[in-house]
Point group: C2
Chain length 276, copies 2
Amino acid sequence: MKTISENRAFGGVQGVYSHASTATGTEMTFGLFLPVEAETGAVPVLWYLSGLTCTHENAMVKAGAQRWAAELGIALVFPDTSPRGDGVANDAAFDLGQGAGFYVNATQSPWSPHFRMWDYVTEELPRVLFNAFPIAEEAQAITGHSMGGHGALTIAMSFPGRFASVSAFAPICNPTASDWGRKQFTAYLGPDEAGWAPHDASLLMKKRGFDGPMLIDQGTADQFIDLLKPESLATAMTEHRQGGSFRMQKGYDHSYFFVSTFMEEHMAFHAAALHA
Amino acid sequence: MKTISENRAFGGVQGVYSHASTATGTEMTFGLFLPVEAETGAVPVLWYLSGLTCTHENAMVKAGAQRWAAELGIALVFPDTSPRGDGVANDAAFDLGQGAGFYVNATQSPWSPHFRMWDYVTEELPRVLFNAFPIAEEAQAITGHSMGGHGALTIAMSFPGRFASVSAFAPICNPTASDWGRKQFTAYLGPDEAGWAPHDASLLMKKRGFDGPMLIDQGTADQFIDLLKPESLATAMTEHRQGGSFRMQKGYDHSYFFVSTFMEEHMAFHAAALHA
């Protein structure tokens, strides 16, 4: 593993590291904030999965999460959103290819050799982290924004018992019924829609839900709201009797100003579950 | 004035606007955060002056100030750091020309036609703000980072009574004795060093100081600390018996991780002065 940078922040360290990934066959970069408590023992961790076009860096510098992570003694992990590099397939559109991995394992050409973000985020990167840093494997929570909210929700529901809590900011809620989903799943997973269902938060919610607290924030002025389909997840949550909150935030859009506004409450929400 | 963008943030609005500037002869862009209290009346304002290479945007998205400004009912203004555009002189170095205005009025060719950031920040932009937004002219404070800390300190000391408080993050403290200063003052102001003194915070501190509270934070691991010369300002502050705090923050560098870490305390410091 290589250290790209380490900056002192809020009494802890905001690091950026890279490593050769077996899952993606590329060098992968991630951000990791460790609070001061990590100097003396293992700390709980919150995964933050980012949205379309983002790298590991966007949330790390714009979401304002470190302030609260430091106060609560929680580590933050910021994975990249796709494999990258000259030998990696790409597309001219911002919502397919590099920066748009959608947290799935691609089975279709030309994506299948490298676009294995499901395995990367759920298997490989956790092992890298637990081996190299003082992070408590038994105290994990997960959140994300937009495409990353989709990732957080689908991963949380697919690994019962792994995450104490899940939250999302303006998540893609129903990708099998949206142009943010159908296009990418067709490209990455192929035309058989049966293979798409494990990657649709609303379908997973109807089928199994999440065994823990859940918090969703969605801005009413979100310019992408028709693609996100919050109504599908809100309906599924209530029909499934899922414990949790689905909050429509009046006047907020899809930007990091929205994310940072509610970050404090999401961090407190996860801290309550992690320290329980 | 043109509205570039407006995003709801922390209950208020983070706007970006541009206007034709008489001072610089260019279109100038600035960021303005208005807390919800601005919907019903004029609010106090904190000026944030940015450092080398920055636009109006860097601090707006990375300093994390809106959270505290919203809680305290204070507006935030983020001016650009220089004139910009095809017709504006520039230099290949990052520390001269566009993005490096140094908050002076240039008298030398080729800079003098547009590089008039002193007049822009101290005269023109205040008038634009007070005319167009619910901001209380009698309740102003000022801060900045690096070159912007230099700007904040020199402006605060040059306009007695205008600012209730001044603070700075890793400011350029003694530009007349540093390569971050001598190079730029020679280019913008010419070789006569007598003209430089009004733009040196340590010299201004020796001569007159600031009639109000002052707060300086400087990281001990700052990679530019030899250029910033914090010892010159600390010495001048103590010799002048200036009320205020000069804090050396162990292990912190020059990045926005440092700025955002101490933003909460700077905002509380200014709020105490503004609401006094």
